[in-house]
């Protein structure tokens, strides 16, 4: 029997070597960017799903896909058009179908066609990144093409026989001159064969998205803290490039006092120095999430608790807060550059009592809350709250009264969503619409929990107690983005389009009813019809109105 095994192994080795000789047929089609289910197909077997450690999706009802092309298109796409303003990230997704009987290995790269750059150098195109959409099984049992690792130079993309893979093209326009750029995506089979070419046309509009995001974009930082360079800077760069401008600093150094509340040690906040210095150039503001406020008292040197909000506690806090403020000033932060985030999703009596103390000691200190609940609690918290951040699902009738109190306070309102099973969240409805909702609700910021979080491997929803909520995956050289995070960024850019049009309308000398109608109708229609075609249609209309107003001003 060992001899038989050896023969089989030899045959398999020969097969591996000889299998993929050309003879494959590639068809390239344009895909919906925000469909993470590339080819809807058969469902996974129910018994298998049920066997997953904590999978919750049922057999038979799973929104799933297989990377298998059951009915590929009959011809490749003739041309892919990308349209963008300056300083914008724009993407296209291409499905590569292998209708042949052998696997193909492709090298992909983009190059200008002759005369396609109108004499401008290729570097003028800014960054072009090619990515492959990688399928993985999420906690709800669906197979989603969510991870978007970049294709490295020389890397081969595998398309097994009869299957489809998705290639993602990302172009950053930077300060590219307005105009049309003709490019070509070349898919070259490793080992020979017909090179597939797909014409790409990039239209750069004559306006620029704002360099600084006009709204607050926060995220909880579970990616930078605790990382060493150069990874720390790579994670930060990814955040900044995805619009994040409000940074999260959590934890708080231990505060030791005696039973009367006199501080026995000088609080040492220096552990935050590096992070603040790194993030400050990109920061609209910081949120200090102070876990010690959540019912945990100051401690005596014997480790005994000082009762929360008791007289000694208040005395200690009175001494501690000015030192905290002095620390922020020493880091170059003024009062408007930071806020306390003392409790998570809670504005009950403990929040109000603490917030009252903070304002009594130093009224200029800002306080953030991410809770919208019944009107009574919101009313009690309102005098002390400087930034509201209710949950996305609470913008409705149930909490309308509390929301009205928030609006009447005149303080900024952001909003957020959360959830652990985010690999199952639809990229368009959950992520891209964040920008549109921010506009439609007339809010000043948005966020979601969270980009980097998770337990075990971020590539595996099943290897720890909970699935990974984060929107990135761990890569060899830094964070690997996802379709969801790209959708979030594009939604913020959509917000910038609306904001730009609004700015230009405000500056227009007279009424512009057509442009105003576009501005008034776009967000409502998109929220009612959250599909890629509707969003793209509105984006082009808005761009057209921006261009029209810009031309008139000149």
């Amino acid at each position: 029997m060992p001899g038989t095994r050896l023969r089989v192994l030899l045959v398999m080795a020969v097969a591996v070597i000889l299998l993929p000789v050309a003879n494959a047929t590639l068809i390239v089609s344009e895909a919906d960017l925000w469909q993470n289910v590339i080819v809807p197909d058969r469902e996974p077997p129910g018994d298998v799903l049920a066997s997953l450690p904590t999978a919750t999706a049922p057999p038979g009802d799973v929104p799933t896909s297989l990377p298998t092309a059951t009915a590929p298109p009959t011809a490749s796409v003739e041309r892919v058009d990308l349209r963008a303003a300056r300083n914008e990230y724009e993407c296209a997704a291409l499905n590569v179908h292998n209708t042949g009987t052998q696997a193909v290995y492709l090298r992909a790269h983009v190059q200008p066609v002759a005369g396609g750059l109108s004499g401008r150098p290729l570097q003028a195109l800014g960054q072009i990144v090619l990515r492959e959409a990688v399928h993985l099984r999420n906690i709800r049992g669906a197979l989603v093409a969510d991870a978007l690792p970049p294709l490295r130079p020389g890397q081969a993309m595998t398309v097994p026989a009869g299957e489809v893979r998705q290639l993602w093209i990302e172009i950053y326009t930077g300060d590219l001159s307005p105009g049309v750029y003709d490019l070509s995506l070349r898919l070259t089979p490793v080992g020979g064969g017909t090179v597939e070419e797909v014409p790409l046309r990039l239209h750069v509009w004559d306006f620029e998205l704002p360099k600084r995001m006009p709204v607050a974009v926060f995220n909880w930082d579970y990616g930078i803290r605790g990382r060493d360079e150069p990874m720390r800077s790579r994670y930060l760069r990814a955040m900044v490039e995805h619009g994040i401008n409000v940074f999260h600093i959590s934890g708080s150094p231990k505060v030791v006092c005696n039973a009367e509340g006199e501080l026995l040690e000088e609080p040492d906040f220096s552990g935050w120095d590096d992070l603040i210095a790194l993030e400050r150039p990109h920061a609209r503001m910081f949120l200090f999430e102070n876990w010690q406020f959540r019912g945990r008292p100051f401690e005596t040197s014997q480790g005994e608790e000082v009762e929360y909000l008791s007289e000694p506690w208040v005395r200690a806090f009175e001494a501690w807060l000015p030192k905290f403020v002095a620390y922020t000033k020493s880091r170059g932060l003024d009062y408007e550059d930071w806020a306390f985030y003392p409790f998570d999703e809670y504005i009950g009596p403990d929040f109000v009592a603490l917030a009252r103390e903070i304002k009594r000691i130093d009224p200029q200190v800002q306080i953030f809350t991410d809770k919208l609940t019944d009107a009574e609690q919101v009313r009690a918290a309102a005098p002390y709250t400087d930034i509201w951040c209710p949950y996305d699902g609470h913008f409705g009738e149930t909490y309308a009264e509390g929301l009205e109190i928030m609006r009447e306070s005149g303080k900024p309102i952001w909003f957020y969503f959360c959830g652990r099973d985010q690999k199952a969240f639809p990229p368009m409805e959950r992520y891209r619409l964040m920008g549109w909702k921010t506009w439609a609700r007339d809010l000043q910021g948005c966020t979601y929990w969270n980009i980097f979080g998770g337990g075990g491997s971020l590539w595996d929803d099943f290897d720890s107690t909970h699935p990974d909520p984060g929107s990135v995956y761990t890569g060899r050289d830094g964070p690997v983005t996802s379709r969801r995070w790209e959708a979030f960024r594009q939604g913020l850019e959509d917000y910038c389009y609306l904001w730009l049009l609004d700015q230009r309308l405000q500056r227009a000398a007279d009424d512009r009813p057509t442009a105003q109608r576009i501005l008034d109708a776009a967000a409502d229609d998109v929220l009612e019809h959250p599909d890629t075609a509707t969003v793209e249609q509105w984006r082009r209309r808005i761009a057209s109105a921006i261009l029209q107003l810009g031309r008139e001003r000149q």
């Binding site: 398999m12 591996v16 996974p44 919750t56 999706a57 080992g191 149930t398 099943f462 050289d477 690997v480």
Partner: protein
């Protein structure tokens, strides 16, 4: 050479290699005791079930004929955001230390529809500190199988399906509820696995050594179920049976992996289907190289598999005690605080996919994600290179993670131990 002759050669070779007979002993599925009364709601008026209606008893819990199976189900409706509406059974005859599996088919358009299993809490009684686990519906509007597990630390046990607050207007249908002991469920699963392995072992398109391994797996499953039947739940050794069943069921969709040139040839006894250990030797300054083959034999479609090397370290038992520090204990479990000394960082270990080019194999970068695709029944090869330039002669250890990104097709991640000897 074209593809067709190649396939014929392969097919002929595979047919020749099907010498092993498949004689796994059939074993019947054990009977799983369902602790829930009237699980399918076929008896009238939701007999055996209690209704929990908080608020002003605004919720609605009633029989329905929209069934997943059979003719009856239960309908739960929460009209306001303050109404708790749960269908529940509780106080089951179970013991602390047991693990229970609660599952139910639920249909709802609300993501608030919830299946809850609680220990140490009695609806309508005095609540204590309690443990709880819950699963929610996706809100798809379709029947979904919700499932939770709970290792019992506190009694009594409550099983409930419904809505808590913040669910105004939400409705669910529930059918085919099952609360069973994990051991029973595992044994049931193991029987299914054994049957599946036996069927796969009969596939003539698989190499003989893989079929041998599958046959062995099938027989092992049958043995395990027999052991489960023969061992009383409270007997010594039952925990061991449970662990074995867990491992067995977990490996039902295993990616087959082996090191090129060594496994699975020439070993006596059952053929291993997964690579557990790589032993490498190198002269200092040379690269230590291994080539790993992956075969997705159980899946229905291709799977991305990440090949992730971890740091190479000095084994703890060979690590010198840091100067000035107290001696570490000889007992390894007491030395967990000691960090192994890293001699080769993971980032310096190169991973390359071997792809065919012109009749030879060519090494290419697998990319940022370190993933290679494993199509069904097409072996793939990955080369892993450990540079030893900076390593002093000695023995080192590490791991290599083979991580399929779809467990339904290729099973859980495989941790392969790496033993590296530098001369």
């Amino acid at each position: 050479m074209t593809g067709k002759p190649v396939r014929l050669v392969i097919a002929a070779s595979l047919i020749l290699a099907t010498a092993m007979a498949c004689q796994a002993q059939d074993v019947a599925a054990p009977e799983v005791e369902n602790l829930v009364a009237n699980p399918g709601f076929e008896q009238p008026d939701l007999e055996g079930w209690s209704r929990v209606l908080a608020g002003d008893d605004e919720g609605v819990i009633e029989p329905s004929d929209d069934a997943h199976t059979g003719s009856g189900s239960a309908r739960v409706h929460a009209p306001t955001d303050r109404a708790w509406s749960f269908l529940r059974q509780q106080d089951f005859d179970v013991a602390i230390g047991e693990t229970l599996v609660l599952s139910a088919w639920v249909k709802s358009s609300s993501t608030r529809a919830k299946l809850v299993l609680t220990g140490g809490f009695l609806w309508g009684g005095a609540p204590s500190g309690h443990q709880t686990t819950a699963d929610r519906h996706s809100g798809s509007g379709k029947w979904e199988l919700l499932r939770v597990e709970l290792a019992i630390e506190q009694l009594p046990i409550s099983a409930a399906i419904g809505f808590d607050y913040n669910s105004p207007g939400a409705t669910l249908l529930v059918d085919d509820v099952r609360l069973a002991r994990e051991a029973d469920v595992l044994a049931e699963d193991a029987v299914e696995c054994a049957h599946a392995f036996k069927q796969l072992a009969g596939r003539e398109d698989l190499p003989g050594w893989i079929r041998d391994g599958l046959q062995d797996r099938a027989e092992r499953g049958a043995e395990l179920v027999m052991r489960y039947r023969e061992t009383a739940h409270d007997a010594e050794g039952f925990a061991e049976v449970l662990d074995a069943l867990r491992d067995y069921v977990a490996a039902r969709r295993q990616l087959i992996t082996w090191e090129a040139g060594s496994a699975p040839e020439g070993e006596a006894g059952p053929v291993p289907l997964v690579l557990e250990r790589i032993r490498l030797e190198a002269e200092r300054g040379d690269d230590a190289v291994t080539t790993i083959s992956l075969l997705n034999a159980f899946g229905q479609h291709s799977v991305a598999v990440r090949v992730v090397p971890r740091n190479i370290v000095v084994p703890l038992d060979e690590q010198p005690t840091p100067a000035g520090e107290a001696d570490v204990s000889e007992e390894p479990s007491l030395r967990t605080q000691v960090q192994p000394q890293v001699v080769l960082e993971a980032g310096r270990i190169r991973v390359m996919e071997l792809i065919p080019r012109g009749g030879a194999m060519m090494a290419v970068d697998p990319g940022e994600d370190l993933a290679v695709w494993a199509p069904v029944n097409e072996p793939r090869q990955v080369r892993v290179v450990f540079p030893t330039h900076d390593l002093a002669p000695g023995a080192y250890t590490g791991t290599l993670l083979l991580q399929p990104l779809d467990r339904t097709q290729a099973g859980p991640p495989q941790e392969v131990a790496v033993e590296l000897a530098v001369r």
